[in-house]
Amino acid sequence: MTALQRWGFVAAALLPTLAIYAFVRLYPIGDVLFLSMHEWNIISRVRPFIGFENFVELYGDPLFREALRNTAVIAFGVLLITVPLAMVLAALIHARTASRLAPFFETAVFLPHVVSLVPAAMAWKWIFDARLGPLNAVLSLFGVSPKAWLFDPVLSVVCVMVLCSWQALGYAVLIFLVGIKNLPASLYEAAKLDGAGPIQSFLFITVPLLKPITLYVSVVTLVAGFNVYGQAFVLASDAQGAPGQLVRVLVLDMLENGFRNYRVGYAAAEAVVLLLVVLALTGIQFGLLRDRSRA
């Protein structure tokens, strides 16, 4: 078999997969880019080209700015809560591997990740309820006055952040746990001989060696954070009779513009901004974590 034939065979074998991938993954992205520069009301057959007008309007749109700010705060908040906490929990669970309760610890931490979003969010909605919620009841035991968790503009964002972190934690712990289990035991033994305690071992061996895993978990968590929608929708939707602060996030704003205001081009422009933000942040994360780990 000549080299050309080998290449031909490889191309023929890969082509169907690549074609499907291009159709279901790349084409929609291209279409979103295309739509973002057009005006389209989802019904009309005419889609006039308007250049960057949608982006210019986005720049001055207070609802978009609010959505972008809320989304960024939630995404970074979830990242800052989840990654360190997951690493510590993974280390603690690993330290108790020999315990009979180890599987229970792992399951307990991972469970929120597999629980369906809507019932989980409904449960949290009850927890955060200003009048009947257990959170305020517990806080009142410490003399803290009741808070309107789901109404206050700041606290409602915190509530979404807490729910997202609670969900993301299990997956992050699982990945970190796999990483920790693969770290060479000899390093810990050597550190122990040198008089290092568990905390020192964690800080100076586990954390640095987990950098590739941390990079992966950070990217996945941040991207998921920027795509937050269901949590905000269930916790603070426009359910009649259930007051709540609408936490406007990017995906929710896109849906509103696309399917309620019939401005698909405008919603596509928002999607492009979201794509660029996530791409830029992922690039920065790669730069920060990968380069240092190589050094």
Binding site: I43, F151, L246, G258, R260
Partner: protein, 442 residues
């Protein structure tokens, strides 16, 4: 057994003949199954944005069974906002149900795009009959001289008040002026030892998302003589809420929240709160009567007209289907307006049927709360949501601003700040109208 017996009595025949007869029998059986299946497959699918309407559509289906014994009615009723989203996706792709229940303000863009079909002659004649429907309903069913929607029901607001709480506060009748609304709300608010409101005197829509907040604001502003936007003679629209009426309405809200503290955004609100006796009064449509009957049948309450007038949001049955499906869909729409079904709708669901030649008095006698919805003076004014493409965007963007205003204590007692807020919001509304080429000059 019968078949076996029949075969046994057949005269002797050759093998090929038996095979031929067997094939014929199988073919005939298959044809019968096919035809029978076709008869069974006579299905009408209804897409609704009001889950409480499902039993009504089933009832309409039952009434059609005399003519179509095998008719099956499939009702897919989901919350209104989700219903609107699925229509936005399904209508352009031709995959929507054949019976579509929708407000005319939302249907307008689909009609303009040719995605809703004009009603056939018999349905158009029915809708155009002045004996059956008011001018307003007939006018909103018609676009460009063609009838597109068959009237179904209308959302119409009125005051609901808890009579026991009124009596406890020494109030013998519902408020008749906006000044009385404020005064009564203060008297009706129940507070704990620290003075914090535990039962709101007047539940107002202060938070959440969506256009409903702006719609409710419009109802209150209407009592002061104002509208959010108004149509000009040339068919264009102007923003009219940065005005005296707008100021009075917004002042009413912020005073209720910050000055009089008769309601707070985090308090339970709307029908649920009223049914649980967590609020003394609120403004809502007639469906709440049916809701109360189901969820709080022992609640002592009354309904009353609003001081000046109220919103009317007519809902129609539309169809984008063609051929046999369309024929059945329009028949279904007409059957929904049969007197028996119209009375059933009012009695069991609580939405107000639009057909006016039907005797609803037995239902009103049984449930006097309907009086405020069907008996009103001649000068009682009505308004409706404009049937223009950007209406949802106008309302939802104003709603987003209003939520912030209702939570802003700096607006309390500060008319200059209220005016500035309204002016800024009105400028945004103007921008939306201008983009849609609908902005007129005052």
């Amino acid at each position: 057994m019968t078949d076996r017996h029949a075969i046994a009595t057949l005269p002797p025949v050759g093998r090929r003949s038996v095979l031929a007869r067997a094939s014929l029998a199988i073919g005939a059986g298959a044809l019968a199954l096919l035809l029978g299946g076709a008869a069974q497959a006579q299905t009408v699918t209804v897409w609704s944005g009001y889950p409480e309407m499902e039993p009504f559509y089933k009832k309409v289906g039952e009434s059609l069974k005399k003519k179509y014994p095998n008719l099956q009615v499939k009702v897919e009723a989901i919350p209104l906002r989700e219903h609107e989203k699925r229509l936005a996706l399904a209508l352009p792709s031709g995959s929507a149900a054949e019976v579509i229940e929708l407000a005319n303000s939302t249907a307008q863009r689909y009609i303009e795009a040719g995605l809703m079909k004009a009603a056939p002659d018999d349905a158009a004649k029915f809708v155009g009959n002045t004996a059956y429907f008011d001018d307003f309903i007939r006018k909103t069913a018609t676009v460009g001289g063609k009838v597109y929607g068959v009237p179904l029901f209308r959302g119409q607001g009125a005051l609901y008040y808890n009579t026991e709480k009124f009596a406890k506060a020494g109030l013998s009748s519902p408020p008749k002026t906006m000044a009385e609304y404020t005064d009564f709300a203060k008297k009706l608010t129940e507070r704990d030892g620290s003075g914090k409101a535990t039962v709101s005197g007047w539940s107002m829509r202060l938070s959440g998302g969506g256009a409903g907040i702006a719609e409710k604001f419009w109802i209150n502003m209407f009592q002061f003589g104002g509208n959010l936007i108004e149509e000009q003679a040339d068919g264009k629209w102007v923003t009219t809420y940065a005005s005296e009426a707008g100021r009075k309405a917004l002042r009413l809200y912020v005073d209720n929240v910050f000055t009089d503290k008769v309601v707070t955004p985090e308090m339970p609100a709307d029908a649920d709160a009223f049914e649980r006796e967590q609020t003394a009064m609120f403004i809502r449509e007639s469906w709440v009567i049916g809701d109360i009957a189901q969820k709080a049948p022992k609640l002592k309450y009354g309904t009353a007209l609003l001081p000046r007038g109220t919103i009317v949001a007519p809902v129609f049955i539309y169809s984008g289907a063609e051929g046999e499906k369309a024929k059945l869909a329009w028949e279904f729409a007409l059957a929904a307006n049969e007197p028996e079904n119209a009375v059933w709708l009012l009695d069991n669901v609580g939405w107000l049927p639009n057909r006016k030649d039907v005797d609803y008095s037995p239902v009103v006698a049984k449930t006097p709360a309907f009086k405020a919805f069907v008996e009103y003076p001649k000068d009682y004014a009505f308004f409706t949501l404009p049937a223009i493409a950007p209406v949802e965007e106008i309302l939802s963007r104003l709603a987003a601003r209003l939520v912030k205003a209702f939570a802003d204590p700096s607006l309390a007692g500060n008319d200059a700040a209220i005016d500035a807020f309204l002016k800024e919001a009105a400028a945004e509304t103007d921008t939306i109208l201008k983009r849609a080429n609908l902005l007129g000059t005052k």
